[in-house]
Amino acid sequence: MYKIESKDIHLHYGDFHALKGININIEPNTVTALIGPSGCGKSTYLRLLNRMNDLIDDVKIKGEIIIDGENIYSKGVNVDSLRKKVGMVFQKPNPFPKTIFENVAYGLRVNGISDKNYIEERVETSIRQVVLWEEVKDKLKKSAFELSGGQQQRLCIARALAIQPSIILMDEPTSALDPISTAKIEELIYELKNQYTIVIVTHNMQQAGRVSDHTAFFYLGELIEYGATKDIFTNPKIEQTQNYITGRFG
């Protein structure tokens, strides 16, 4: 069974037809990379998966997105519950102006959890999962802004993990980071897929190659090609994909 199924998704921003009949099925415990030039619709598609586009005025969505067998755009779907299941990490690290500990505990607290021991246990587990524990264990009460960019991004991933989602969406999670921090996040993505289903938007094609099992190439709102990353990067079936990944686009 697929973790995420997208069936003939159309999305309009006003008159602009931003996604044109997207069909993608994503298996559990895999990493799927969405690639394509700016404005191709990849981030729009990503944001559909936890209904982030709901917040934008004049958006019309057609089609179905089914997560764990349920259409997340059906009436009566609780968006808060959905977002507990589908965590998100953004392009720029965006820690809250709080301590390191409270950043990770935040999601638990807003979900009504007050058991101190449980919160402490979840915070430590999540920070360990992102391989940040050794670096921050002695300064959990310090502001998250004291961390480096790479550490902040790992903290944001820990914050997403704390509420135990099963899907993590990442929108260019390393584009603001140096190569070493980027490598750490990529290794983390590789580790995390054992427990989570990950969908990542990236402008860095080598990153898609390194971290993902499947790659989807978007262009002008259409899904041009979707397949195993190995196949996309060694023998893409569509000429446009080949031109894009070899840098001969346009």
Partner: protein, 226 residues
């Protein structure tokens, strides 16, 4: 261990597996030649398909690593080396098969004295030992051991050089055995190629570990580079 390290480790294990298979093909080829065991020769010929399948798999894995991980520095040299070693191994596998085919076709009247006077078995043993040593050098990243084969190869060259005279003399006095004698000469030529392939693999190993290019150098130059 990083994702790339894991992939490189898998590539190394697959290369060792391919290498071990080719060494076993050579060893069985030698045994079949020594005892003229046609069943064993058939086994070598059948197993050649596995060598070919392994070659394709390793090629594909190298291609995937280039495409997906864009390796650099020692990682890049490692994948490049494996790609070439793979090709050398496949050709060595072909040679083992070629020798097995000879054993299959030879008749019962074959003059075993030919094996003795040409030193072909001694040569075969030396070639197999070279292959084993370079495999061990590959497994343990031991370039000193890899360098030893440059000297070992001299024995193969010596036997190969003398083979023409030995075979010519033999033919002059055993004209009824010309065909068998020429076959043995062709085996000697093949074994000389095994020596060359093995040296190439040793050079690839040194290239990947030390970033030194030893191709087209004399043995003395190679030793100086150490």
């Amino acid at each position: 261990m990083s994702h790339l390290d894991t992939e490189l480790q898998i590539l190394k294990s697959e290369t060792i597996e391919m290498w071990t298979l080719v060494n076993s093909q050579l060893a069985k080829g030698k045994q079949s030649l020594l005892t003229l065991d046609k069943d064993l020769a058939r086994e070598v010929i059948m197993t050649e398909k596995r060598v070919n399948a392994n070659e394709l798999k390793l090629d594909r894995d190298c291609e995937n690593i280039f495409a997906l991980f864009t390796p650099v520095a020692i990682d890049l040299r490692f994948v490049l080396a494996v790609l070439k070693i793979n090709s050398n191994l496949e050709r060595t596998g072909d040679i083992a098969e070629g020798i097995a085919k000879f054993v299959l076709h030879v008749d019962d009247q074959f003059d075993r004295n030919l094996l003795q006077i040409t030193r072909v078995i001694e040569m075969y043993e030396a070639a197999n030992n070279m292959m084993k040593d370079v495999l061990q050098a590959f497994e343990h990243e031991d370039t000193a051991l890899a360098r030893k084969v440059f000297q070992m190869d001299e024995l193969l060259d010596e036997i190969n050089l003398k083979a023409n005279t030995v075979i010519a003399d033999y033919i002059r006095s055993n004209s009824e055995n010309i065909e068998a004698a020429l076959y043995v000469l062709s085996i000697i030529r093949k074994l000389e190629r095994v020596g060359d392939q093995t040296k190439n693999m040793a050079e690839e190993l040194i290239f990947y570990i030390e970033a030194k290019v030893l191709k087209h150098r004399t043995r003395k130059e190679k030793e100086k580079e150490a």
